[in-house]
């Protein structure tokens, strides 16, 4: 009699592995932003108004005492994506500095943070705990697209603000259905449009091959780019995808290199960025190459040593390692005050920390401008910002929002070219203010 155990264990093993991979990598697919459904907010007339009529148990000033206002945040502090925890160093230093000056409107700003290891299930549990146990006023700068999707509905139902998310998905521009949440970094679609704009000026008949991560991160770039090149001489000659579980992207890059393309749009992130840059170099192909702004920190793009020089991306913050800003007032403030309030020398050179510092300044500005410290008032203020230039934003970039008319926070960027050490800025700041929606695919 033949034993069957062995076959069975092999099948079990494969099934288990697939399951674990799925769990390990998560999936940030979400078919739609819910456009067209839902109750719909009241149309703003003049300033932006957000109705609190449908809120479950609306508590306008929860988390605000006479002397303090408490925020919550959840992001990976351990595990594979722990590097994102650097962001919080930046805003915590900024709040320490502001608090030492007396805080905002006499209130000290406190942010209670929890570790979610980039697992959206944990983000949800953390958020519940922060809301129920810690009684936070609002969530702030929660990292990750799937993570924010996981908490969007609960926070929305209770009308608890979720401010300045650390993700560039174009889903965060749906004011009508999700007024209690607002993004921060430029959407991936905006980035694509800015690259298309660069090509129009510098390489008007570019033949482009796209490498995209097989989820809505990659899709954001692809859809945005296609819309941006409509009616131009720029053509897409090849599109390749990769899964985050693929060990390598060499075969995709080989196909792209022989497609006749002279330009590469690499909508890849994390380690797949330097990986694909290495593969481009090894294939002998020499395209004009664009990488996602999520890869621009030296700790990521710097890994592709010798393969990263001349690569393009979009920049919206002053890079601490760029000597151009050595005498810049905002940069000096970040470096000296930041160190005074807890940053190390290495932190003060880190672009992610600089982003955190900028977000801290943006939140403080928002609270300062809010007519009163209620959830509704702060949220309405976040949706009606005008000409703010907090922290390390590049000269010429300002923050403007106007409810559903202009739902994206940062929509201006400048093309930068990596020189092996930092990003050399090219040309001028390009503004897509109020226009991101034209390139975004919120309906999938």
């Amino acid at each position: 009699m033949r034993r069957r155990r062995r076959q069975w264990s092999v099948v079990t093993v494969l099934v288990l592995m697939l399951g674990m991979l799925g769990a390990a990598c998560g999936s940030d697919k979400d078919s739609s932003g819910g456009e067209g459904g839902g109750s719909g907010g009241t149309a703003p007339s003049g300033g932006v108004t957000i109705s609190t009529d449908d809120c479950t148990d609306y508590q306008p000033t929860k988390g605000v005492t006479d002397t303090k206002i408490t925020f919550g945040s959840s992001f990976p502090q351990s595990g594979t994506y722990a590097a994102f925890a650097e962001i919080s160093k930046g805003y915590q230093a900024y709040f320490k500095y502001i608090n030492a000056q007396g805080g905002v409107k006499g209130h000290q700003i406190e942010v209670v943070t929890k570790d979610d290891q980039y697992d959206s299930g944990k983000t949800k549990a953390n958020t519940q705990e922060l809301v129920q146990q810690n009684g936070v006023f609002a969530m702030f700068n929660v990292v990750g697209t799937p993570n924010n999707l996981a908490i969007r509905d609960d926070l929305g139902d209770e009308c608890i603000p979720n401010l300045y998310l650390a993700t560039g998905s174009q889903l965060w521009g749906d004011f009508k259905n999700y007024p209690w949440l607002i993004g921060s970094i430029p959407s991936y679609a905006t980035e694509s449009a800015i690259f298309a704009d660069y090509l129009k000026a510098n390489k008007p008949d570019a033949k482009v091959a796209i490498l995209a991560q097989n989820d809505d991160f990659g899709e954001g770039y692809t859809v945005g780019f296609k819309k941006a090149i409509e009616g131009t001489g720029i053509t897409i000659v090849d599109e390749q995808k990769y899964n985050t579980t693929d060990p390598d992207v060499k075969s995709q890059i080989t196909t792209m290199s022989q497609s006749g393309a002279d330009t590469a749009l690499l909508a890849a992130t994390a380690l797949k960025c330097p990986q694909s840059l290495n593969a481009v170099k090894e294939s002998g192909w020499k395209p004009t190459t664009y990488i996602s702004a999520t890869c621009t920190s030296n700790t990521v793009v710097g890994l592709a040593k010798d393969a990263n020089v001349g690569v393009l991306s979009s920049i919206y913050l002053k890079d601490p390692s760029d000597p151009e800003w050595a005498n810049d007032a905002a940069m000096q403030e970040f470096q000296t005050l930041g160190k005074q309030y807890g940053l190390s020398d290495a932190d003060a050179q880190n672009g992610l920390v600089g982003y955190g510092w900028t977000m801290g300044a943006l939140l403080a500005d928002t609270l300062d401008k809010a007519p009163e410290l209620t959830r509704q008032s702060v949220m309405q203020t976040a949706w009606s910002l005008s000409n703010l230039t907090p922290g390390l934003l590049l000269p010429g970039i300002s923050i403007n929002t106007a409810g559903s008319d202009d739902p994206y926070v940062i929509e201006q960027m400048q093309i930068g070219q990596y020189n092996g050490n930092f990003w050399d800025l090219q040309g001028q700041v390009v503004s897509f203010e109020g226009k991101t929606r034209d390139y975004a695919s919120t309906t999938g």
Partner: protein, 296 residues
């Protein structure tokens, strides 16, 4: 035609790496009869060790050798301390699987704790150039990977077929109880099997990181599923099968990704699994595996 040949080379190069990790899986399976889920993360740890030696200024070849030595000892210790107390596969298979899954998570966390989670650059073991053969250029890296794998297979063949130690390993794998009665120290043989697998894993990890020129703490999650596919295809108890299985999986995924339009790069693994399914239907023990027969 050029594109086709390029794809074949890339498929074989990637396949060689899947095969080398599959080899480590097979070595443990042969001696103990169960699958070590932590194999990928053991290789991850070893590869970070190699990186650390290299970072300290040790030449890369010596760094790999040192890491293989340390990994051999660590593998043996893991068998003695974590695996043996749990029991053997006949009586406690599920607990063993759970222990290795636990090790997978623990080792990954340990790597993050020691070396942090940001990516690292890893050197090209065989240099960065290419050799042109006709219209195809093959990187030194790919040639080196093939050569190392061929030598490794040869050495394993000699070990298993031509030495007393190899004979003892085969005896223990075949029937531990009888081996023990015949005077073989089964415990030591099992430790040897684990140590050997860990050392092979260290080498496979270095080849993989060198191919990518990069290293971070989650690259082996991605690799292990391909290695499982390779070992399943080749037969879980055959070293040659593991390598051939790896090459086939590499080749099929790259070619299917390139030429089968409706699959494309994003679904290419499906093609590999379809091949495996067909093979298993015809030969349940895999291409090179031996049929398991047991008396009742």
């Amino acid at each position: 035609m050029d594109l086709f040949l390029d794809r074949v080379v890339i498929g074989l190069e990637q396949g060689a790496i899947y095969g080398s990790v599959a080899l480590a899986l097979v070595l443990i399976y042969r001696s103990t009869g169960f699958v070590n889920f932590a194999q990928g993360e053991m290789a991850l740890f070893s590869t970070f060790l190699t990186w650390q030696f290299w970072e300290w200024g040790v030449p890369i070849a010596a760094a790999i050798a040192a890491s293989m030595g340390v990994s051999f000892l660590a593998g043996a210790v893991i068998e003695r301390v974590l695996i043996r107390p749990v029991g053997d596969v006949e009586h406690n298979a599920l607990a063993l699987v759970i222990v290795t899954v636990g090790m997978l998570l623990a080792l990954n966390a340990l790597v993050g704790w020691i070396w942090g989670t940001e990516g690292r650059r890893f050197p090209k073991i065989f240099g960065a150039g290419t050799v042109d053969i006709g219209s195809v250029s093959i990187s030194y890296q790919a040639l080196g990977t093939f050569a190392v794998l061929a030598v490794l297979l040869g050495l394993l063949y000699l070990l298993f077929q031509r030495t007393k130690l190899g004979l003892a390993v085969r005896a223990v794998a075949s029937n531990a109880e009888s081996s023990s009665l015949a005077g073989i120290r089964v415990g030591r043989i099992l430790m040897f099997g684990w140590g050997l697998a860990a050392a092979v894993g260290a080498l496979a990890g270095a080849l993989y990181a060198s191919e990518l020129s990069l290293l971070d703490s989650n690259i082996f999650f991605q690799l292990l599923i391909y290695a499982f596919a390779a070992a399943t295809l080749g037969g879980f108890d055959s070293p040659v099968g593991a390598v051939v299985g790896g090459l086939v999986v590499g080749l099929v995924t790259v070619l299917a990704g390139g030429y089968v339009g409706f699959l494309g790069e994003d679904l290419k693994l499906v093609a590999a699994f379809a091949v495996i399914l067909v093979v298993l239907l015809v030969r349940p023990q895999g291409l090179f595996g031996r049929k398991q027969v047991s008396r009742v």
